[in-house]
Assembly symmetry: C2
DNA sequence: AATAGAAGCGGACTGCGGTCCGTTTCAATG
DNA sequence: CATTGAAACGGACCGCAGTCCGCTTCTATT
């Protein structure tokens, strides 16, 4: 027992080569998406492009879905920052109802922009906690600020659900609903929800 | 041009061997699901079990997702029949608001029961038209009967969205929300939506 | 600097979804 | 029946996600 107590020693940071490879992989992935589209990013191609073995790719990201989630994570984090600290009405400073409406429109736009990536990332694993959770928590918070009473957790989930890419695609692609009408519809929905009898 | 005009000739029905194989495949699929679970239903295993070639399986269902959609189709049709013509409050005869609430609870239960199959069926292709469409149209109709005014199409989509399996799983599995609270939450949501100011 | 052992690496290997095309089976016609 | 054109069949084949395990590289310790 000559080892120093592991108290307070944060989990060993990251080996130099591992860091290098991670960066190379992410860069290669971004490049491949640009060139061949999301569907063209195969794990073999990615490994070759980054000059590493296939095993390394899976060690980093666990699965193809994990890789996509990692790619998504970047823009997702940026967006969260805009929501938490950016300019109003999306960021703080505007009345909560205005923030909520701006939030919905912004979220729809983001989800549509990254549709392919989101679908390739699937639901399971990393993303759920980072993405769905944040949006729901934020909406819940705004509902509270607005003064809504009731099961805010459920109401937040219900308001976020129609913003999900699966629902949006159904409307935009299959039913050919114009975006303006979707945004207007969600706005109306919010008004109905916040004005409790 | 000695052929009879193809007017009114319905698309040639189905060859005998094709019909036989279809039945064998569906039966084998159901059996495999029972024994090995949804994940254990591989296209090769299915082909072998039904005593046909792999190509035949793909000719029938187009893809694994198509197969799952076909399996789902059975119970889905049954459920639709219950909604359209079964006993109240789900079926006709009850006040439309009661029908709507019964609809929500029933749909949640159905989606949870077939969760694996639904996720394996994916969104694309056959299912969307048959399933999502029907539920949305029905909710839209009920909203009209209740007397709601506004963009009924969007409101219906928004009410159906939180019943989707993806959203339900998030609540049930990750957040451990009890079913009773989910049902109560959806009921509250409906009340907020239908009581417009 | 030497060393030990853990963390990381790589690529052959497996299993599955999906395609392709030569062969077989059906049913409509004379 | 015999014929014939089309629909259906079957299984070899391909590409990709994911696993496995022996080898290499890093870092902490003395």
């Amino acid at each position: 027992m000559s080892k120093p107590l592991p108290l307070l020693t944060s989990p060993p940071p990251e080996r130099r080569d591992a860091a290098r490879n991670r960066e190379a992989l992410l860069e290669a992935a971004v490049c491949l998406v640009e060139v061949h589209g999301v569907a063209g990013v195969t794990m073999d191609a990615l490994a070759a492009r980054a000059g590493v073995g296939k095993g390394t790719v899976f060690r980093r990201f666990g699965s193809r879905e994990g890789l996509m989630a990692a790619l998504l994570n970047h823009s997702e984090t940026e967006w969260q920052a805009a929501v938490m600290g950016g300019p109003p009405p999306l960021g703080p400073g505007a009345p909560p109802l205005d923030r909520l409406l701006a939030f919905g429109a912004s979220r729809m736009e983001l989800n549509l922009r990254h549709a392919e990536l989101i679908e390739a990332a699937g639901h399971p694993g990393t993303r759920g906690v980072g993405a769905l959770s944040f949006t729901t928590m934020h909406v819940r918070y705004l509902l509270g600020e607005i003064g809504v009473v009731g099961d805010l957790g459920y109401l937040a989930t219900a308001l976020v659900a129609p913003l999900e890419i699966i629902v949006l695609r159904e409307q935009v692609d299959r039913a050919q609903v114009p975006m303006a009408r979707i945004v207007a519809g969600w706005t109306d929905l919010v008004h109905r929800v916040v004005s409790a009898p």
